[in-house]
């Protein structure tokens, strides 16, 4: 067994589970442990005055932003969305929109995958793995890099 496959098997053996998210019509994977909350749209406070933030989640005296994402991870606000997924970040968690979420079985085989070229965020590549089914590939989101990307948008 190659070193890469050992890595892939180790990921699976560690018992990590993954969420399959439909984001702007494209399916991505996210380690389930990276999601600290999922909220239906109805439970969130809508935001209309920000370029990228479309809602907020009130948490005690704090509030967490929700960014609208398309399938190319751009922030055009065109497609209806149903839920927000929140991932941990400092100083506060950040969320993004999704149409659908499914918790996948544990036996998923995740291969290492890093896109070629320059890194899109200071936190590294937004994708850290992939699941291959025939010729089709679903990319695994890296929560730290995705949070950094969303925070960058929030600062615009």
């Amino acid at each position: 067994m190659s070193a890469e496959h050992q890595v892939a098997r180790k990921i699976a053996d560690d018992g990590e589970q993954y969420l399959r998210l439909s984001v702007g019509g494209t399916e991505f994977l996210l380690p389930s442990g990276a999601s600290i909350a999922v909220e239906p749209r109805e439970q969130l406070t809508a935001e209309t005055g920000h370029r990228y933030i479309v809602a907020w989640r009130a948490v005690l005296s704090d509030r967490w932003p929700v960014f609208h994402l398309e399938g190319d991870l751009s922030t055009r606000s065109e497609r209806p969305w149903a839920k927000a997924v929140f991932i941990d970040a400092k100083p506060f968690p950040v969320g993004f929109t999704t149409e659908d979420i499914l918790l996948l079985p544990r036996d998923l085989r995740v291969e290492p995958f890093t896109p070629l070229g320059r890194l899109p965020t200071a936190a590294g590549p937004v994708f850290s793995g992939a699941v291959v089914r025939g010729e089709e590939v679903q990319l695994l989101l890296d929560p730290l890099a995705l949070a950094a990307y969303l925070q960058y948008l929030g600062a615009q």
Binding site: S2, A3, E4, T26, G71, D72, L73, S74, R109, E111, P112, F113, P115, L116, G117, R118, L119, P120, T121, V126, F127, A130, V132, R133, G134, E135, E136, V137, Q138, L139, Y149
Partner: protein, 154 residues
């Protein structure tokens, strides 16, 4: 007594837009049809066309036309993906593919007979020359390493 085998390099001629890429055949793992749908890679370089599954691995697809600053015409039924072995020093699974406008052709390049009018090429190209009447490009592997894996090379 058998005649001596001609010396030279077994190459694959990969058709691009208005030119061909010339690479040693030993760099190529397989030539495959273009899948109906390439997976998109958001927030990636414009020359990274997407990703597809090959032998249970995710393989990124590179547009050499884009790398050279030209437009990449849409893939046709005659287009192919040329899967390259990992570049020297990379992990065993770091395959990548290049979009070819047509089926690539094997060719034996004999020493000193094929190339003429050589000149240095744009970034990513070690040598520009002519192969018959066609502009031929020989890739610069060090430059490709820098474009593909900038954080590893830096």
């Amino acid at each position: 007594m058998s005649s001596p085998r001609p010396e030279g390099v077994h190459a694959l001629i990969i058709p691009l837009q208005g030119s061909v890429l010339v690479v040693p055949s030993a760099m190529i793992a397989e030539v495959v049809p273009v899948p109906q749908r390439l997976g998109r890679i958001p927030l990636s370089e414009p020359w990274l066309l997407g990703v597809f599954g090959w032998r249970l691995r995710p393989v990124p697809v590179v547009s050499f036309n884009h790398l050279l600053g030209a437009e990449e015409p849409p893939a046709s039924r005659r287009s192919r993906l040329v899967v390259f072995y990992p570049l020297p020093g990379r992990a065993a699974g770091d395959f990548f593919a290049v979009l070819s406008a047509l089926e690539p052709q094997p060719r034996l390049l004999e020493d000193g007979q094929e190339f003429n009018e050589t000149s240095t090429g744009p970034e990513g190209i070690a040598l520009m020359t002519r192969l018959g009447t066609v502009k031929a490009l020989i890739p610069d592997l060090d430059a490709l390493m820098k474009r593909f894996y900038p954080s590893a090379v830096a």
